[in-house]
């Protein structure tokens, strides 16, 4: 006995409904945050912070050795509760495995001061609820760098510290639509949508 009659009309409807659905990039983080995990996990900011508050520049290179790394872990683990509690205040910690380093959002460990320049990004997008900046300097994380609405005409802006050199980025509108910066040069993207490019240079001495 067949389970059901194959009806092409129903099958057509079903195949439309089977189309994959995209999930908010923040979803996984929200779930993990809701678990109330006690260990040190990558924690991203929920709200935008001024760049000064986000600077964590402690870093330990592999050369520093296991002892230093172990000491750091001891600090990290013993301080984990403190970190998790202050999560609400938006203190971010990103832990990488290639070098044991605490990085700030602009990913500038060990960089001398002159190698980090504050750069302002602006874009005009009227009639939207949010705009975020994503790029290689913030791991393309839509939660990391929310932009601020400066005028009712739809001028969005954010300023953040960037390492000297070439960076690729995009703006993300309402967490769904990726757009490039109309004022910036573009590079072709491997993923089908072009990136904007900014080259950050040292200030004139």
């Amino acid at each position: 006995m067949a389970d059901y009659e194959l009806d092409p009309f129903i099958e057509g409807i079903a195949s439309e409904l089977r189309r994959p659905v995209r999930v908010d990039a923040r979803f996984d983080d929200r779930v993990m945050a809701a678990l109330d995990a006690p260990t040190v996990i990558p924690i991203h900011q929920a709200r935008p912070r001024s760049w000064k508050e986000r600077r964590w520049t402690l870093s330990i290179t592999p050369v520093g050795g296991m002892v230093a790394a172990a000491a750091l872990f001891a600090i990290a683990i013993s301080g984990a509760k403190l970190v998790v509690d202050s999560r609400e205040a938006g203190a971010p910690i990103a832990v990488a495995t290639d070098s044991i380093a605490m990085r700030n959002v602009a990913n500038v460990p060990e960089a001398p001061e002159s190698m980090i320049i504050e750069k302002q990004f602006t874009v005009l997008v009227p009639g939207v609820k949010s705009v975020a900046l994503v790029g290689d300097f913030n791991d393309w994380d839509v939660k990391a760098t929310r932009m601020e609405l400066l005028s009712p005409k739809g001028l969005w802006s954010v300023t953040l510290p960037l390492r000297v050199g070439r960076h690729e980025y995009q703006f993300v509108v309402d967490d769904t639509l990726h757009i490039t910066d109309p004022t910036a040069p573009e590079s072709s993207s491997d993923f089908g949508s072009a990136n904007s490019v900014v080259t950050v240079t040292r200030r004139d001495p």
Binding site: F9, V31, A34
Partner: protein, 189 residues
Amino acid sequence: MAPSRGLPLQNDDDAAVVARVLAGQTDAYATLVARYRSQFARYALRMLGNREDAEEALQDAFVRAYRSLTRCDEPEKFGSWLFRILANRCRTAGTRRGRREKTFVRDEIALLDASEDHPAERAAWREEIQRALMRLEEDHREAFLLKHVEEMAYEEMAELTGVGVSALKMRVKRACERLRSELHEVQGG
């Protein structure tokens, strides 16, 4: 990643991940979240009709699953177990629904798919489908989605819902009849 036919609800690797989580490596749970969220998001969305409710139900399900992970008797079937939790969440969420009319389909349009012909028409058709789906009775919608969208066998569906196979067949039949009558007019040429 785009889900293939049916849900891969059995995965040996899941057992290993569950074991790690239970041993204290909470981070490992992220692997399970990443593995199942897209597939289950689709079900939640079709069932509840809007993004916010769907994501809420999905997040809720993941958190509940985590909290009761010790009660997952067959960790290699974590997927099934989680889906059962999700289906329950969706049934509960359904009772609170009604306020939000806007469906998720509009958001999908913004997410490219320029490869399609006549994207605007397809989008409108999809909205109609979702609207018709939402007009079904909850039990019928659930049965239809499990059978035709998640492509489960009736025995699996019975295990998941606790409802008998013949009752499920009846629900699917009613759902198909209703959808056919509502959508045939809309589809036109």
